[in-house]
């Protein structure tokens, strides 16, 4: 099979590391070769963060380059736009409609482009927009945005729902398992 490239992008502190951990866990169990690239350190402090997940028969590079991403999961609207050049032609964006102002916007040095998702759609890009923050709150925690979006992503793969739920159980702390499973199902569009 051809290697599948997933990018998880967002704002430092939004929990993209857990999302990639969960994905990696599931993909290894399914027998794929997997590489996951994370960035720790300074950018985790509220900066723009990027995680790459690649899987297939044999994966060499841990990175995804411009025009290579099959899926971009964006935890924030502006970040989807920032990383649009990474998307493969015909690729899919899954985006949390939440707006988190970056510092240049807060200080007034720049403006937040409100209509940026419409602009992306107008270019013919497939955009699956979801209010993941509201669904996460419905599931029980604002911190579950990451799992809501994983739930959304699961719609695009053939893996059985039980495999995803099991992967959640095996990667999150036991006391948060139930809440995260609910977040996953809400993201997937199930109750």
């Amino acid at each position: 099979m051809k290697t599948v490239n997933i990018m998880i992008v967002g704002v430092g502190g939004q929990g993209s590391l857990l999302a990639s951990k969960l994905l990696g866990h599931l993909l290894v169990k399914e027998g794929y070769d997997v590489k996951v690239s994370e960035v720790h350190g300074m950018s985790q402090r509220g900066g723009s963060v990027v995680t790459y997940v690649r899987f297939g028969d044999k994966v060499y590079s841990p990175l995804v380059s411009e025009g290579e991403a099959d899926y971009i999961i964006s935890f924030e609207k502006l970040e989807a736009a920032r990383h649009l050049p990474m998307l493969k032609i015909g690729g899919q964006i899954i985006v949390n409609t939440q707006q988190i102002d970056p510092m240049p916007v807060i200080t007034g040095a720049a403006e937040y482009p409100q209509d940026v998702l419409d602009e992306i759609k107008a270019k013919g890009v497939k955009v699956d927009a979801v209010d993941a923050l509201s669904l996460a709150i419905e599931a029980g925690s604002v911190k579950a945005v990451n799992i809501v979006l994983i739930g959304r992503l699961s719609n695009y793969f053939d893996f059985d729902k039980q495999l995803w739920l099991q992967a959640i159980e095996e990667t999150v702390a036991p006391k948060f398992a139930q809440m995260n499973k609910k977040a996953f199902l809400l993201g997937r569009g199930e109750k």
């Binding site: 997997v34 380059s65 510092m103 482009p113």
Partner: protein, 578 residues
């Protein structure tokens, strides 16, 4: 058993299985997790040392004591550890010893992108360079055999894309090892001129033997493609990019032992390909070796020596191809890292910026005080340089600068290499004001304990350095503590100490907001009727505060309730939450 591990966890597993007994390190991105994962194994004694020099010397001591030992650091940490490294090359080891160093091409979280391979060559120490987690694991194990066989410390060099990338590792079991009996060997371990002169030729002979070993060693892998048009010599993460682009269609010489490199094996490879190309990030280390042995490779004439590569760079340079993509027409505002809501550094920085002081800075989360809107820093060089630097600055500029210059340094950085600078201030008498930003943790690298926190790497209670008493002992009479959430008292403290006729230390003390035991207070609220849109609160650069429809708004999901913004509002529009 197959597991998906980041390179650092795989390396730690390799150390564990090799029977390592002692690991000492100072945290530094991207190397930190090596030691954190090693600390999860009860069979290994692990610690955070105050700095990389201490860590390396601890590992040396453990090796001298007959145990297998290791230390880990980031590339700039190796500068600090360079002193023991160069002479360790002469003494050699008793128990096997491994020095792990993680480079950061593209400076994801660093102040420079130096290439650690130069150190191995310069110190004449073998260096291995794994290309994924599986190799990080197996090379770590094998490194100890080389260390003991050739009587030398062995370096393992990774980079961000190895250290922080997960790939599959097939792990094994730990082989427990008995301590090698201690034996007094002055000629081997006392490096004074008489003994050291006898050791240097042995080091040179060792390099020859290692070069011989490199000709056929398990770490270097050669693949010949049917088509002999192009042959690439590469190593580490670059190997993965090359394979991603070319698969098995070209010949590849993958170097796993970067020092010393083989001679004949590389000549043989070069003879079988029409075009010889080196793909390596940063400096032309492999390329220089190939030239030294009489080959004529293309390398830095094609590829940059700045930043990190990806498969796209290889494709662009060697195939002149790139993937189609789409861009937005709208300009996308940058999203630089920021100090967190409730960060204790923000208050003191606000005061320093307001007073328009010259501020010599240091390495840590608090380097972010340099960014807008605070713009509070004037310099950041290396660990500890703020304290030594302010002394030089004041000596050069005299009384004028002493009244409007301070330096800031974190608690962990002060332990690392700020103390010696403070001794210099006291001893050589400059009227400098040193502000220790004590947030009770090593923050930027992800919350590691340090000698001021009262806990060790396992989270168990440990001796706690009393910063006030320490500064007194180092010769500073004026030492005071302020709460960075209290702007008025911070300002008066800074004013008083700048006016004083002797050096002083201000400890700005409040734990990092992200620490589990620190509880956020209820979010503050803006009374929109009272807000006059003066934007005073915006000068803090707090991510929780923004302006919506002309009025300040506080994001309740982000606000930590520190109430620093409340102190700036002249119209009493910001209310404490309930």
């Amino acid at each position: 058993m197959k597991k998906l591990l980041i390179g650092n966890a795989a390396l730690a597993r390799g150390l564990y299985e090799a029977g390592v007994k002692v690991v000492s390190s100072y945290p530094g991105t991207p190397s930190t997790e090596i030691t954190e994962f090693a600390a999860k194994y009860d069979e290994i004694y692990c610690e955070w040392a105050p700095n990389e020099k201490v860590a390396t010397e601890v590992a040396f001591g453990a090796s001298l004591g007959g145990a297998r030992s290791a230390c880990a650091m980031k590339h700039v940490g190796l500068n600090v550890a360079a002193d023991p490294l160069f002479t360790l090359s002469y003494t050699g080891v008793r128990g096997g010893m491994v020095i792990c160093v993680a480079d950061d091409p593209a400076m994801h979280s660093s102040q420079n992108e130096q290439d650690s391979r130069h150190y191995a060559i310069s110190a004449k120490v073998p260096m291995l360079e794994p290309a994924d987690s599986s190799e990080a694991y197996s090379f770590a194990k094998a490194a100890f055999d080389i260390s003991e066989k050739f009587d030398t410390p062995v370096m393992i060099r990774t980079c961000t894309r190895i250290a922080h990338c997960q790939s599959i590792v097939d792990i094994g079991e730990r082989a427990e090892r008995d301590l090698i009996p201690y034996e007094k060997q002055p000629a081997k371990y006392i490096m004074m001129p008489g003994y050291a002169k006898k050791k240097h030729p042995i080091v040179e002979e060792r390099t020859k033997a290692l070069t011989e070993f490199a000709e056929n060693c398990e770490f270097n892998k050669v693949f010949f493609a049917e088509n002999s048009d192009m042959g690439i010599v590469t190593s580490g993460t670059c190997y993965q990019y090359v394979k991603e682009v070319f698969g098995d269609s070209i010949s590849v010489f993958k170097i796993g032992m970067i020092n010393p490199m083989p001679i004949q094996a590389l000549k043989d490879f070069a003879n079988k390909v029409k075009r010889l190309i080196v793909v390596e990030e940063l400096d032309p280390v492999i390329e220089t070796h190939l030239r030294n042995i009489g080959l004529k490779p293309e390398g830095k004439s094609l590829f940059s020596n700045i930043g990190e590569f990806s498969q796209a760079d290889i494709k662009k340079v060697l195939l002149d191809k790139s993937e189609e993509n789409i861009n937005t027409d709208t300009a996308i505002p940058n999203r630089p890292p920021v100090m967190c809501p409730g960060c204790p550094h923000r208050g003191i920085y606000y005061v320093l910026a307001k007073m328009k002081l010259t501020v010599l800075g240091d390495i840590g989360c608090y380097t972010l005080g340099a960014t807008p809107p605070l713009n509070a820093l004037d310099s950041t060089l290396c660990m500890g340089a703020s304290v030594s630097g302010i002394h030089g600055f004041n000596k050069a500029r005299g009384e004028d600068s002493q009244k409007n210059t301070v330096c800031v340094i974190g608690d962990s950085t002060f332990m690392h290499s700020g103390m010696t600078g403070l001794v210099n201030i006291a001893y050589n008498a400059s009227n400098s004001v040193v502000i220790i930003l004590d947030n009770s943790i090593t923050g930027m690298t992800g919350h590691q304990q340090n000698p001021t926190t009262g806990y060790n790497i396992k989270g168990d209670p440990a001796a706690k350095v009393n910063l006030e008493e320490l500064c007194h002992s180092l010769g500073i009479n004026r030492v005071r503590v302020v709460d960075p959430y209290d702007l008025a008292s911070c300002e008066s403290a800074v004013k008083e100490e700048l006016a004083a006729d002797e050096p002083s230390v201000i400890i700005s003390r409040r734990p990092c907001m992200l620490l589990k035991y620190v509880k956020a207070k209820p979010a503050l609220k803006v009374d929109a009727d009272k807000c006059r849109s003066c934007k005073s609160c915006m000068r803090l650069g707090c991510p929780a505060i923004s302006i919506k429809d002309g009025k300040a708004v506080i994001d309740a999901t982000q606000c930590a309730g520190c109430a620093v913004c409340k102190q700036l509002c002249k119209f009493d529009a910001i209310k404490e939450g309930v």
